[in-house]
């Protein structure tokens, strides 16, 4: 039960030795420590009920219950510690794994998740989320970006321009995330950068979640005329999706500079072109 820790000059990431799940992030430069647990959950997609026939589909996210199912309480882990990278490979199930990674000099924790093919043999559509839980007192507020530029404050079960009668406690609090979502208690800020647009929310104080994959079985009656099933390539067992979430822990004062520059590096990441060696021929535009 030795503790599972990866670190570089700026960050230390600790995992629960019994479950293999993320347990704490430490910003060594600022002396900040934040207990953070992260796991994958799934919402059972609604197939309509006696109150409302509305089904969860391509246009409409509507989970059947407000409480998502935890994918697994623990993960098989493998620790890789090298000079140029430290990473913990987490295997949750046959269709969900993640690598938590730190490179030297990096000021964010990289979580590379791989989800799919989502099994639907039980006739339940599933909407998979990655959820981060902390003790931060966020007072019902969280922050999401709009196209990577403006940051909007969101308040649970509230709309700034009309009196909201909240009928969907989960979906009614989901917002589009183009590049980042963050929560703060006024001192410490936890930011998650995404590498693509996702749905996200903070449904409890100190918690934030991002939807990484969906596999549905029914049409939501908005015109598509088919379920969001995404069979993927042959044999059509379902799309496998891989992406990355970057975690930044900082003081509120310093957080913006950190996530804005990192988001630029993420959106305009360098491009790699390869070539065999020694086969070049001189070439001048003339």
């Amino acid at each position: 039960s030795q503790s599972l820790v990866i670190q570089n000059e700026h960050l230390r990431v600790t995992f629960d030795p019994n479950t293999g799940l993320l347990q704490e992030i430490e910003n060594l430069d600022r002396g900040l420590r934040l207990p953070v647990s992260q796991a994958f959950y799934w919402y059972n997609a609604s197939s309509g009920d006696f109150m409302h026939p509305q089904v969860s589909g391509a246009y409409i996210f509507r989970p059947a219950q407000t409480k998502p199912f935890l994918l697994r309480h623990w993960a098989n882990t493998r620790l890789v510690k090298k000079a140029l990278v430290q990473e913990v490979h987490q295997n949750f199930t046959a269709w969900c794994s993640q690598v938590v990674r730190l490179y030297p000099g990096q000021r964010h924790v990289e979580l590379e998740w791989t989800v799919g093919p989502v099994p639907v043999g039980d006739d339940w559509g599933k909407e998979i989320i990655s959820r981060f839980d902390t003790q931060l007192k966020t007072n019902g507020r969280f922050y999401t970006d709009s196209n990577g530029r403006e940051i909007l404050e969101r308040r649970r079960n509230y709309r700034p321009t009309w009196d909201l009668n909240q009928t969907e406690p989960v979906a009614g609090n989901y917002y589009p995330i183009n590049s980042r979502i963050y929560i703060t208690d006024g001192q410490i800020q936890l930011t998650v950068l995404t590498d693509r647009s996702q749905g996200g929310s903070s449904l409890r104080d100190g918690s934030l979640e991002l939807m990484v994959h969906r596999r549905l079985l029914l049409d939501d009656n908005r015109g598509v005329g088919e379920a969001l099933l995404e069979p993927g390539d042959w044999p059509g067992t379902g799309l496998v999706v891989r992406g990355r979430h970057l975690l930044l822990l900082d003081t509120v004062e310093a957080a913006a500079a950190g996530h804005r520059l990192q988001a630029q590096r993420e959106a305009l990441a360098p491009h790699l072109v390869l070539a065999p060696m020694g086969q070049g021929t001189p070439y001048s535009p003339g």
């Binding site: 039960s1 599972l4 629960d16 030795p17 019994n18 479950t19 293999g20 799940l21 391509a58 246009y59 309480h73 623990w74 993960a75 098989n76 882990t77 493998r78 620790l79 890789v80 510690k81 090298k82 000079a83 140029l84 990278v85 490979h89 295997n91 794994s97 490179y103 030297p104 000099g105 908005r222 015109g223 598509v224 005329g225 088919e226 969001l228 099933l229 995404e230 069979p231 891989r242 630029q264 590096r265 305009l268 990441a269 360098p270 491009h271 790699l272 072109v273 390869l274 070539a275 065999p276 060696m277 020694g278 086969q279 070049g280 021929t281 001189p282 070439y283 001048s284 535009p285």
Partner: protein, 173 residues
């Protein structure tokens, strides 16, 4: 002759809300992806021509679009290859390059001929019989510019051990 017109056209078509939000029938979504892929294919010729004229030498440039699943036929077979890192940002960056390779020891040289520290790790999860070696090295590129790293395979033996500490939360749990 490369052209970005195809990608521009595909991006224009993909402004439709169905493409942005994924609310189209499957075959329409597949066609959006097909158009974007065809557009990117044409752009690769354009980028190769640009690199050739900027470098003053024409290479058989290869774009590995599946590096996110550790697939790149060139680096997984060649003993010598070049890695060109283009930086679109207006400021210099350092980046950790990860490339699937076929062996366990490589020599990486920077644009100035210096040796760059590099390592090969096995990316497959435990329990899998075959290995999936991946070369890692830190690289940097100037603002709106590119750097060329040369990679040479060294004679090596498959490591006697896998990376340390295969711990199974489940078993201990």
């Amino acid at each position: 002759q490369g052209s970005s017109a195809h990608l521009r056209q595909a991006m224009a078509v993909a402004q439709h809300h169905d493409a942005v939000t994924g609310t189209s029938k499957q075959h329409v979504a597949d066609d959006y992806a097909r158009q974007l892929a065809a557009g990117w294919e044409k752009c690769q010729v354009l980028v190769s021509n640009a690199l050739a004229s900027l470098r003053g030498s024409k290479e058989d440039f290869v774009f590995c679009n599946q590096l996110n699943i550790s697939v790149c036929p060139l680096t997984q077979t060649a003993s010598h290859f070049q890695a060109v890192l283009y930086n679109p940002l207006a400021w210099g960056i350092t980046w950790t390059v990860r490339l699937p390779v076929k062996d366990w020891a490589y020599h990486v040289r920077s644009p100035s001929g210096q040796t760059v520290p590099s390592e090969v790790i096995d990316v497959l999860s435990e329990g899998s019989e075959n290995f999936r070696p991946e070369l890692i090295f830190p690289a940097s590129a100037p603002p709106l510019g590119f750097s060329i790293y040369s990679v040479t395979r060294l004679p090596s033996k498959t490591p006697k051990f896998r990376d340390c500490c295969s711990t199974s939360g489940a078993q201990r749990f």
